[in-house]
Assembly symmetry: C2
Homo-oligomer: 380 residues x 2
Amino acid sequence: MRQVAILGIGQTPIREHWGLSIRDLAVAAGRAALEDAGVEHVDAIYVGNMTGGSLNRQRQLGTLVADHLGQWGAEAVKMEAACGSAGSAFRQGIAAVASGDCEAVLAIGVEKMTEAGGREVTAALAEAADAEYEAIHGVTFVGLNALIMRRYMHEYGYEHQDFAPFALNAHANGAKNPNALFQKAISRKEYENGRIVADPISLYDASPIGDGAAALLLVPVEKAPKGIRVIGSASATDTLAIHDRHDPLWLEAAEQSAYKAYHQAGIGPEDIDLFEAHDAFSIMAALSLEACGFAERGQGVRLAQENAIMPGGRIPISTMGGLKARGHPVGATGLYQLAEAALQLRQEAGPAQIDGVQIALAQNIGGSGATVVTHVLQRP
Amino acid sequence: MRQVAILGIGQTPIREHWGLSIRDLAVAAGRAALEDAGVEHVDAIYVGNMTGGSLNRQRQLGTLVADHLGQWGAEAVKMEAACGSAGSAFRQGIAAVASGDCEAVLAIGVEKMTEAGGREVTAALAEAADAEYEAIHGVTFVGLNALIMRRYMHEYGYEHQDFAPFALNAHANGAKNPNALFQKAISRKEYENGRIVADPISLYDASPIGDGAAALLLVPVEKAPKGIRVIGSASATDTLAIHDRHDPLWLEAAEQSAYKAYHQAGIGPEDIDLFEAHDAFSIMAALSLEACGFAERGQGVRLAQENAIMPGGRIPISTMGGLKARGHPVGATGLYQLAEAALQLRQEAGPAQIDGVQIALAQNIGGSGATVVTHVLQRP
């Protein structure tokens, strides 16, 4: 298997893009990645997207995007694993280059959600859960996460305000990222007064949806000695329904995929300088820190309280705003995370730059820990 | 790259499965393939599905199916390329085993459509077309194919009745396949009196939707010396919208992917003993025969009239009913085609068995020739 490098990075700002369709967004990000890499032709395009069928009435997005990027004839397909779609598309791209099947590949994550009504979006997001055993009872996706957060607070003795550092860090970092949806720091008081969405989750514990696309261009390392190296890539799954888990407070698939990726990279969590965690909800950030080996069970929140997750801390997360402040266009998020990690490793993160980053971890989660894709990137 | 073999085959009959959910169908086919192979554990599951989000309100099908097959922890993802979804999932499985990343992989195609209303299904199928330039004008998927068929008739001087052999052959063959939706031969008179759906396409020119799942279990050849070998695998894309094509009567992506697969296999069309074509409509069968090198341009219908496509003919197609009579559960079809080709190569096709089959071609098409996945299988 060949080693793979990221040669091009492209992304659109995350906004309510009323003037751009789903294809426009994907094409803009893809073109930016091609230009950044100085590459004109790719062999394959893997598109990550979740709600395109339901909200945009558009399927076959892989081929549509290949078509409108002028990559006629290229292999193309869409991957869907709910909010883990873009991470899966990237991993597919890695496999295509690593195996020798392709010389240049585009992985693009795209989502356009804000044109749809709130009820429609909530219903589309619930499709990530188990339709027959969860969604059918009317439980929303934020509702499922609220159940997990409440149990975590009960089990480990936390209060709602203990989760504040996740939101404070994400919003402070988002303020330094021009592509972020929310570019405004928030205060502890604002966090504490946050409107409750699904008790105990407040607006500041939940990431906002948005429209956007992010793309990475992949080539074999020998063609890009200065490209960011992908030194670990793994995916694992858990039960889709939370009630089927041995322990709803442990993200088993996150642990499995992270340690598989560490093993491939020949490193451990102590070697990671930066972690783009899937902070769709504060509770998911806490559980991810634990599953990936940065905190003991029940200590993810404690780690955040000790400021370890902030720039300059032991393990900075959400360095460009995370899902919380950069925004969470669900099927695109995995590639935003990877694009941001790659920018940090290139030292091109601008005001959001974390000093001395050599190795970064990016973890993309579909559902409440059901599909997890983990990548380890390294500066050449 | 390692050579890959098909070790297990599983499928459900195609029916209106009122008592089985989409997960039940996928799990039934997956379990049958595991049992057929005598394999208990797989490393990855690739699920092909098109309309699960819209019609079943269920996404993340890869993980759901892994979960309910008891394959906890396995990598899993859903691939979508409209009616080319299952072929894409199979191709992904091939790549995962060929690259050495996985030792055993399940590719499962599944679709459950008949619970939804006709209007809802028609809208979901139109998502395969270009939402902004085709579907927005109200053109249905069958409408697009009707435009192509009408142009073909005009250009090459055919009448509607000239297309009869495609339906007659498919229905005669479907009558020999217990898994087919329609197990009844039809007469030329029935064809000629077929109710018009979208002029010139009649009911007998269009494949029926259905509920079903098909699965194949893939391993490296060295672990299955008696398994059916996959000696060619390729995918290519064309413009999504038909009006963007240089020639709407030529399936360029079908030609490209077929010849790439032939090249890998070191063969040409003259070496193919059996062709599972994507006969979603009679016109697609004709165009596929031309694109894959079995007939000159405009001669696909002539070839059918000469009985070359029937059992015992030069290039038998739809040998177990094809999309037309076996049924077309859209995102599952690619794996039904491959499962049937594999059964023929094993000489386990029962009354539908074609004599002396050594090499088979299976071609799965998403949209009106937009995403095409072609595989060449060989008897060991």
